[in-house]
């Protein structure tokens, strides 16, 4: 009976084209769109040499130290030497972020405030301030001039060493894909919901027929849920393969733990749907609405529409982060990708297991021993 029902439930689910669209094709489509839209965002964050023009005039020639200093910054600026008119034209066309002119004091001309302009200014300030330092030192200690202070200032030491926070890049884009997987897991709720509807005599004709059969309802239900979980897990793995293989999004390299998260996530989704269907006594359309609305709310809080939301919730209302299955699934992937320790990961997984147990228990207590006086 168990296998018989399992086989037929698999077929039922696979032939439900609409269900397959929402639980498999829709996430794949969203992943593709995310990838199209977001792939350039990190590139946009990368530093590109600031285009800057320097106006050639007599005052510039009078400041060879400045030209030398500017030459030492070729990884910062793309410099071109022009006349003032050319510089102005370039600025108007936004070909350069600003131009530098001595008239006779150092002056920076820009057409807006911004990052590039701030960097140019940072460099110019640096030049002025270093000169000021030299002047102060020489006033206090005139012998410094003979001890090569000017040369000393231009050869600067590097005071910073980079320490990376983790083995992976802090790339917020991956979080969008993690929440997408969380969404897919919870969309597995559609499958759980379908199974509960199919076994409740007051919700579907199939349910009425099954209740008539001389079989243990728990056995039938377990095999139905197993079928739903099987499909859900398969869909999730297809999605994961697509995201990793085709889109090239990094999930870290702990494949075993990633698979574990997928299994737990699928179970959470399927039992979540079953829980909703058993607790709320309304038609399937209404249940679907509730499922979509709650999934979307949870995914929003986990950062699917706005990645910072996850951080805001985690820091401001941590309890909400721990009570949100979508966030827990997202966080599991995040922890695997980004953290060096596994503490956070196992906390998430344990909490998810807690949710699975609660959802299943409630579903079980609602479904068992139901009798229908009339249908």
């Amino acid at each position: 009976m168990f296998l018989f029902n399992y086989r037929y439930r698999l077929k039922c689910i696979l032939r439900d084209r609409q269900l397959m669209f929402w639980t498999l094709l829709f996430p794949i489509l969203l992943a593709t769109l995310f990838n199209l839209a977001l792939s350039n965002i990190t590139t946009a964050e990368e530093f590109i040499k600031v285009p800057v023009a320097v106006v050639e005039n007599d005052q510039l020639d009078a400041n060879p130290a400045f030209t030398t200093a500017l030459e030492g910054t070729d990884e910062l600026f793309a410099v071109q030497y022009t006349t003032r008119a050319e510089a102005e034209a370039l600025l108007n066309d936004n070909q350069i972020s600003g131009y530098i002119v001595f008239e006779p004091d150092l002056n920076l001309v820009v057409n807006q405030s911004g990052l590039n302009q701030t960097i140019i200014r940072g460099f110019l300030d640096d030049f002025l301030q270093s000169s000021a330092t030299i002047v102060t030192v020489i006033t206090e200690n005139p012998t410094a001039l003979d001890n090569g202070i000017v040369a000393g200032v231009s050869s600067r030491s590097e005071y910073l060493t980079e320490v990376s926070a983790s083995q992976s890049n802090p790339d917020p884009i991956v979080n969008y894909f993690y929440t997408l997987i969380a969404m897919t897991c919870l969309y597995g709720g559609f499958l759980g919901l379908k199974e509960v509807v199919a076994i409740q005599a007051d919700l579907s004709d199939v349910g009425a027929r099954i209740n008539l059969a001389p079989t243990n309802k728990l056995t039938v239900f377990m095999s139905s849920m197993l079928a739903a979980t099987t499909i859900q897990l398969a869909e999730l793995l297809i999605l994961l393969a697509f995201i990793i293989g085709v889109l090239g999004i990094s999930f870290g390299n702990q494949l075993g733990y990633i698979a574990l998260t997928c299994v737990i996530g699928s179970l959470t989704g399927v039992t979540f749907g079953a829980f909703i269907a058993s607790v709320i006594k309304k038609g399937e359309g209404f249940l679907t609405g509730i499922l979509i609305a709650s999934t979307m709310t949870m995914c929003f809080l986990a950062g699917m529409m706005y990645a910072d939301m996850k951080y805001i919730v985690t820091t401001k209302i941590p309890i909400l982060a721990y009570l949100n299955p979508a966030n827990l699934i997202t966080d599991s992937f995040y922890a695997l990708y980004y953290y060096t320790s596994h503490t956070q990961f196992f906390t998430d997984i344990l909490l998810l297991c807690g949710f699975i147990i609660v959802f299943s228990a409630i579903t079980y207590f609602v479904l068992r021993r139901q009798k229908y006086a009339s249908l």
């Binding site: 200014r121 000021a132 030192v137 005071y159 910073l160 980079e162 320490v163 910072d308 951080y311 953290y339």
Partner: protein
């Protein structure tokens, strides 16, 4: 006007599904347009990065001086010294640079030994370059003082540095741009409209078409004593009024949020552009309405279409951040041209022949999309009637 009335009765029946997209739009528009503050200003304002400053060394004037200096040029974010919390903050860009002053730093500096500060950064980012510049400058200047004025107390050093670092370059900002904050925000608002407009029109028109295209119902209607021309006229009127109504509802909030800006040339052009887009979207919805066979397929198509075109065309992510390939694909959708025109209108400080021509070209293209799709739909309907 039975047909016209029936049209709106069907819409009424589907109002909850349609309302979802209205609510989504209002939330999106409110949240994101208010969250966005353009960095434009007439005076020069430095870009300030959010950084975390963690001091493991004891309190010393040198470290305090550095901290104060950085505080003047960046926003110091207070974060607990916990690896995971720091990692989180960096991942979500709450800070873009974490500076750690190691134990014994001051002593080493004073003795002229080589020391290093530890930084944790977003790789390849401008923030990294700029902060490096600031910190290295401070410490190099300090080093110069230590080297050439031996016996200088930390107090004096910090004072000297303060004076030196107060030197600033004169910055001239040349811009005739009186870019109002509303311009950028309203641009976003009108871009977002395209998503909801598409979803609502597809859902609304499809749900009506599904009813009217039902074979039995169609046969019944054809033998009713109403002329088919009258019936078609009422259907067209129904579609148009539904589209205009949706448009009015969606733009209404813009008057509340941007007030008189909506009556400037920019505002009026945005309204005109969105109206033209509404017509094109209606035409596409009408085609989909004639193709879709079931309610399930209807919501799938509405979602795929609204989300797909929005993502590709730069509604959610600005067009300049999208790849060239994506934009090429997107240029086959009216949304792309609509968004392009919106951005140009919002960015325009004054209107001249050049930018007006580009804006109106986009509008004409959107309109052409609408007409072309309508033509296809009419042929399709005609063909079906012949076959039936």
């Amino acid at each position: 006007m039975q047909v016209y009335k029936a049209f709106f009765r069907i819409i009424q029946k589907n109002r909850s599904q349609i309302a979802i997209y209205l609510v989504v739009f209002m939330v999106l528009a409110l949240l994101l347009t208010n969250a966005y503050t353009p960095p434009q200003d007439t005076d020069f304002t430095k870009t300030r990065f959010n950084i975390a400053f963690i001091n493991e060394d004891g309190d010393s004037e040198l470290v305090d001086g550095l901290k104060t200096y950085l505080g003047e040029n960046a926003n110091l974010v207070d974060l607990p010294d916990d690896p995971q919390q720091l990692q989180d903050a960096l991942f979500f860009r709450q800070v873009v640079y974490i500076l750690r002053v190691p134990k014994g730093f001051t002593a080493a500096m004073l003795n002229g030994q080589e020391v290093q500060l530890e930084k944790t950064i977003v790789p390849d980012s401008p923030s990294n370059i700029y902060m490096d510049l600031l910190i290295n400058k401070y410490l190099n200047s300090a080093q110069t003082y230590f080297a050439y004025l031996p016996g200088l107390s930390q107090d004096q050093l910090v004072d000297y540095l303060k004076v030196d670092l107060a030197e600033e370059t004169a910055v001239t900002v040349i811009s005739g741009s009186s870019h109002s904050a509303n311009a950028e925000k309203s641009g976003y608002y009108f871009n977002y409209i395209s998503y909801s407009l598409f979803a609502i029109l597809i859902l609304g028109v499809c749900s009506v078409m599904l009813v009217f295209n039902d074979t039995d119902l169609k046969r019944r209607n054809l033998c009713s004593p109403i002329r088919s021309a009258t019936m078609n006229f009422q259907m067209i009127l129904g579609n148009l009024s539904f589209a205009v109504l949706t448009w009015l509802v969606l733009i209404s909030a813009s008057f509340v949020m941007y007030g008189s800006y909506m009556f400037t040339t920019n505002g009026l052009l945005l309204l005109l552009n969105s109206f033209i887009f509404t017509l094109a979207a209606l035409s596409i919805s009408y085609l989909i309405g004639n193709l879709v066979k079931s309610r399930g397929a209807m919501s799938a198509v509405a979602n795929v279409f609204a989300l797909g075109t929005s993502f590709l065309s730069g509604v959610f992510v600005p067009q300049e951040l999208l790849g060239a390939n994506v934009l090429t694909i997107a240029s086959f959708t009216p949304t792309y041209w609509y968004v392009k025109a919106n951005n140009e209108i919002a960015n325009a400080v004054s209107f001249n022949a050049g930018n007006l021509q580009s804006i109106f070209t986009s509008m004409v293209l959107v309109l052409a999309f609408g007409v072309a799709v309508l033509g296809v739909t009419l042929v399709l309907i005609k063909q079906r009637r012949v076959e039936a």
